[in-house]
Symmetry: C2
Subunit: 202 residues, 2 copies
DNA sequence: GTCTATAATAAGATAGAC
DNA sequence: GTCTATCTTATTATAGAC
């Protein structure tokens, strides 16, 4: 096990390789569906070597979720109460859709976890996430009160952005099966742009 | 194993009990996360007795998916090309949201399967589902051409209905963690009503 | 039809050589 | 740091009595 001092370059590289492989497998199979064997094979390492870097399968999963939660909410944090309301919301939608396109594995890791009752991140949801969302809902409400955007339930507005954007990562197979060769994300961005501008027009 | 003749009442009842328990466990844990032990315990039967009715864990899962696919698309099938366009669409949204509220386990079973690449239902998606969706998109396009509803990409319109409604079943823990004690479904229905009426107003 | 007992295998984790 | 070999446990499935 790595000693309790600054990790060497090879340690950093191996940990990164392992986490990337683990993300591949966990996001595709869920926690219990994933096997350490498959993660090791994907990483190109032996199973005991993997467990030299992470003490258990659980530890890998935990490391991934922790890293994910750190960055997953950045697009919402970046919605600026002092900006132009509609453009701030559209910017949030755009950033969220880009995350679905560029980081579908992260989206599916998260979806797997929440779908199965969020056993490992329930506190993060009901504390950190709730706090952030409530504060942004307050911002949305001032925008609605000022007449800058139309009135809707602010929490459901945020849920709608989550569901509409994450759908393209989480249900990618279904979307492509139905849509055929057409790129989903271009059409999605145009559609979401229309949707939110029409719904929120004062 | 049940003989190849009409099932007795006790057989029917046991099969139904098992499938209900299996739905509980598969929808909460995914296919590989589910164990036959847990399904048996939930059903109140011994494990060998379970496997007397279904030859394998895989067979239970298959039976559930088959039954699900049969009924999952009914709300879309019911959207009538001869009806009043906006009300037909709103009716579809309402039925779909009701399914999320009344059959969240089915929604999560489906989500688990698609999220993990739809290995068992890929054909159903790219054939049956695609055929149905394409035909309903043609209907939507005639409505748009006639000016009865505003123009949007029809496939993405349908994706939006799926994602916005299923979100309340699949991400139920998250929605409730953020929303607190407020009932999600009442607010959701009001929100979706507003959303689609504003977006589709000609 | 239902059960107890058990076989067979898969998977997480460790020992110990190099 | 990395590997082969192995232990241990969990899990699917079956045998065979009742």
């Amino acid at each position: 096990m790595p000693k309790d001092r600054a990790p060497t370059r090879i340690q950093q590289k191996n940990r990164a390789t392992i986490l990337d492989a683990a993300l591949d497998v966990f996001s595709a199979q869920g926690f219990r569906g994933a096997t350490v064997d498959e993660i090791a094979a994907t990483a190109g390492l032996s199973k005991p070597n993997l467990l030299y870097y992470f003490p258990s399968k659980e530890a890998m999963h935990e490391a991934l979720l922790e890293r994910l939660l750190d960055t997953w909410l950045d697009p919402l944090r970046a919605m600026d109460g002092d900006g132009e309301p509609l453009e701030e919301i559209m910017g949030y939608v755009r950033r969220k859709l880009q995350m679905s396109r560029d980081f579908p594995r992260e989206s599916r890791l998260f979806a797997n976890e929440v779908l199965q009752g969020a056993p490992r991140i329930h506190d993060a949801l009901s504390v950190d996430l709730k706090t952030l969302v409530d504060s942004k809902c307050a911002v949305l409400e001032t925008w609605m009160a000022s007449g800058a955007i139309a009135r809707v339930h602010p929490h459901h507005l945020i849920f709608s952005i989550w569901s509409l954007t994450q759908h393209y990562a989480d249900f990618d197979v279904q979307v492509r099966a139905v849509l055929g060769p057409e790129d989903p994300f271009d059409g999605a961005m145009a559609f979401l742009d229309t949707l939110y501008r029409r719904m929120l027009r004062p």
